[in-house]
């Protein structure tokens, strides 16, 4: 039997309207359907659509999913069904050589994977997953790189389970290999499985799905008292409770699954919360992000060919997207299931890269506690964990500075406005929160920090008197007292942006009470200068001013103007301040923030929330000037 046993009739898109290059594309092929039987295959495909889109989370992901029906006529009808495994002895010539009775088991129905993948690639070049429907009413199916199933009732469940493996790398959650009475499957081997829905780690604080576990849920939720067999007791908790249930990944003990039941454990039941999230995380990044209007974005370049961008969805989800010179933009994903406080303009996700293979991120959660998470090249994302018990001001910004690679200094405002700090050191871990020199920030003010030297910190904020205040810390002398920066009246929600073009110099940018874009500087030799307005600029109410220094004698500024257009200007020590200009026609949300980064000196990447609420980006390059804005998502 070869592929000469029939011919390809053609391909029809039967569901979806997403762009083919940014969609989850399912290619369905029929085997053992003769030319006159194509209507049966068409009906089977319709039945699959009904079952598939009736299975959460696919019910909410349809806009990103396309389904294609590839009609293939086979010479013969049905599939091989050997007598030796209880079959009929049928042996038709079919296009994909499907056969029951593999490995001595009749219902193990397999096709020729190579043929199926090659046909799918020819008919639907951008296919994500391939399914083969076999023209037989005998129950059967199999997984692997091609999901195969028959027309028997309930066999579509095989395809949906198998997609869990093929498309998302989900593990099997069943706690046995051959049904439970097998030997050699009592204890899971040591080591953490790579899949997202099984674990050998029973510690709540480091559990990979800890974001989904309620604090009132016991961990482990269910422990197997007899590892020689499967724990067959009913669940001690209500259906849908996420916890830690022993018995998963083919072992009776030592491996855990997130819920008592899941489609990766048993056909006919829903996917568990963790698997639903994984499926969501695969398909959702194919779109763009509608962001919280005024929550600041942040961006980090761990190395020049890589960017990590952090934002918040309009629903508060902590989101990230990254760009790599070799693979482009990766698409938005929810960072460890986090949801940030919506107080004020919303607590942003702030980030720092202590070294190129590591990120530390911070935000204030919906319970107004300060949370952190990290990403490491050797382990991926951690869960969010709280930093002490500080009650932060709702929506407060958490500022972070890494004075050196084994140390973090973190700053934010407490519920009563007190300016608080906490630090982490690789040798000692996290310290406790303390108030910085008795400082209290005005309502809506943020604390800005910069390290000009590894042994020196400068802080800036707006006080309750709406004046700008500063404070510094030095390794030798500790924290100094707060002192005012002249008498300029700040916009109450003003943020101070600070840049050190070189270690003995600071440039500050902010907004005055009338919205004027103001600057001052400090130099070790001359001390503080007076405030001045930058090129007559006035910012949209709420919008901060962003500054970057590409060279020690050059500054670039960005803000949103009173007409909500995105503006930039620059300063060069030979020519002074330029006039403000609109960046590539960009219009932002009123009161939003523009973030910029220069990962290489002749290049600037800029990010903003557009007037439609979607996150956009553009860039400037020394050779080509400004590019147009594009919706940030996947490329």
């Amino acid at each position: 039997m070869t592929t000469a046993d029939g011919h390809i009739i053609g391909t029809t898109q039967i569901s979806g309207s997403a762009p083919h290059n940014r969609a989850f594309n399912i290619a369905m092929m029929g085997d053992g359907f003769q030319a006159a039987e194509q209507g049966v295959f068409d009906t089977a495909c319709s039945d699959f659509l009904t079952a598939f889109f009736g299975t959460p989370p696919y019910d909410r992901l349809a806009p990103a999913i396309n389904v294609f029906r590839i009609n293939v006529a086979s010479t013969g009808s049905g599939a091989d069904d050997p007598v030796a495994t209880g079959g009929t002895g049928a042996s038709p010539n079919t296009y994909f050589d499907s056969s029951f009775g593999n490995n001595g088991i009749r219902r193990l129905l397999e096709c020729n994977d190579s043929t199926a993948l090659t046909v799918a690639a020819g008919q639907v070049p951008g296919f994500t997953v391939a399914l083969v429907v076999v023209n037989s009413s005998v129950y059967g199916g199999s997984g692997g790189s091609v999901g195969t199933y028959s027309l028997a009732g309930g066999a579509t469940e095989i395809a949906i389970h198998e997609l869990g493996h093929t498309a998302y790398g989900l593990a099997d959650e069943y706690p046995y290999y051959a049904g439970g009475n097998e030997t050699g499957h009592d204890h899971h081997p040591a080591g953490e499985p790579g899949q997202p829905n099984v674990t050998t780690n029973a510690v709540r604080a480091t559990l990979k799905w800890r974001w989904a576990v309620n604090t009132s849920t016991t961990v482990p939720t269910m422990a197997n008292p007899d590892c020689s067999t499967v724990d067959s007791r009913p669940s001690p908790v209500p259906t849908g409770t996420v916890g830690l249930f022993e018995g998963a990944d083919y072992y009776h003990c030592g491996a855990y699954r997130p819920e008592y039941d899941c489609k990766m454990r048993e056909l006919g039941v829903p996917f568990c919360r963790v698997c639903r999230q994984v499926i969501w995380n695969r398909i959702d990044p194919l779109g763009t992000l509608v962001a919280r209007d005024r929550t600041p974005l942040s961006v980090v370049a761990r190395y020049p060919e890589h960017l990590d961008v952090f934002a918040e969805g309009s629903d508060g989800r902590t989101m990230s997207d990254w760009w790599d010179a070799n693979s482009g933009w990766a698409g938005w994903f929810q960072l460890s299931g986090g949801v940030a406080s919506g107080g004020g303009t919303g607590s942003p996700v702030t980030a720092v890269a202590r070294y190129s293979g590591h990120l530390d991120v911070f935000t204030v959660g919906t319970d107004n506690r300060v949370y952190s998470a990290w990403w490491d090249v050797n382990g991926g994302w951690s869960g969010w964990f709280p930093l002490g018990t500080l009650a932060a001001r709702p929506g407060s910004t958490v500022s972070v500075v890494a004075r050196y690679s084994d140390h973090l200094d973190v700053f934010t405002t407490a519920a009563n406005g007190a300016i608080m700090s906490i630090w982490w050191d690789a040798r000692t871990g996290w310290a406790d929160w303390f108030q910085v020199s008795g400082g209290v920030a005005g309502a809506g003010a943020t604390v800005t920090a910069i390290a000009r030297y590894p042994f020196h910190l400068d802080l800036f904020t707006v006080g309750t008197d709406h004046r700008f205040w500063s404070c510094w810390w030095d390794d030798r002398s500790g924290w100094a007292g707060w002192f005012p920066l002249d008498t300029l009246a700040a916009r109450p929600d003003a943020t101070v942006n600070v840049v050190a073009r070189y270690p003995d110099h600071l440039d500050l940018f902010t907004t005055a009470s009338n919205g004027a874009v103001m600057s001052t500087w400090w130099d070790a030799r001359s001390g503080w200068a007076g405030w001045f307005q930058v090129s007559g600029g006035v910012a949209s109410p709420g919008s901060p001013v962003t500054a970057i220094a590409r060279y020690s004698n050059h500054l670039d500024l960005f803000t949103v103007g009173t007409d909500n257009r995105i503006y930039s200007t620059w300063w060069d020590d030979t020519t002074g301040w330029a006039g403000w200009f609109n960046v590539s026609g960009g219009i932002a949300k009123a009161g939003s923030q523009v973030v910029a980064i220069s990962r290489v000196t002749e290049h600037i990447d800029v990010f903003a929330v557009g007037s439609d609420g979607i996150v956009y980006s553009t860039w400037w390059d020394g050779s080509g000037g400004w590019a147009g804005w594009f919706q940030l998502g996947i490329t």
Binding site: H20, N201, A627, G628, F630, T635
Partner: protein, 154 residues
């Protein structure tokens, strides 16, 4: 917004591999207009099989996981609801798998790579110190890429 131009898409390639008794062959390499998401572009190394696209110097340009690869067992599904799904060892380990990976024009090779799990489990405690046990990686097979069509393009 004036959205006249966007980022230049990165070229992607589809690869189809066949495997039989430990031998892997590349049976299809085809440029394809597909955006590969961060879900597949693991920047971190977790245990499993991967396909790596490499440059002339052997450096990794992109890496995507093989999610349903060379399994030595097959899944057997129950006909009756509530009965267990089981697995059986395959009589012969052979089949095919496919991935789509970003492949810049500088790409010259593609490799199938196996990453093993580090010996230790994650450390207990909420201290944000990553485990430093490095996973190990082994090349299972390496193939040269065909020169891209119109390879003279900038």
């Amino acid at each position: 917004m004036d959205t006249t131009s966007g980022p230049v898409p990165v070229r992607s390639m589809r690869f189809v591999f066949e495997y039989e008794s430990g031998n892997i062959s590349l049976i299809l390499q085809q440029p394809v207009d597909v955006a590969v998401s961060g879900f597949d572009l693991h920047p971190d190394l977790r245990p499993g099989d991967y396909v790596e696209v490499r440059g002339p110097d052997g450096g990794t340009l992109s890496r995507v996981p093989v999610r349903s690869g060379m399994a030595a067992s097959a899944e057997v599904f129950p006909e009756h609801a509530g009965d267990p799904i089981t697995r059986v060892d395959k009589a012969e380990v052979r089949g095919a798998f496919t991935v789509v990976a970003p492949a810049p024009l500088s790409a010259s090779h593609v490799a199938v790579v196996r990453v093993g799990r580090p010996a230790a489990a994650p450390r207990p405690g909420g201290v944000p110190t990553p485990a430093h046990e490095e996973p190990w990686a082994t090349d299972l097979a390496t193939f040269a890429l065909d020169a891209p069509a119109g390879g003279q393009q900038p």
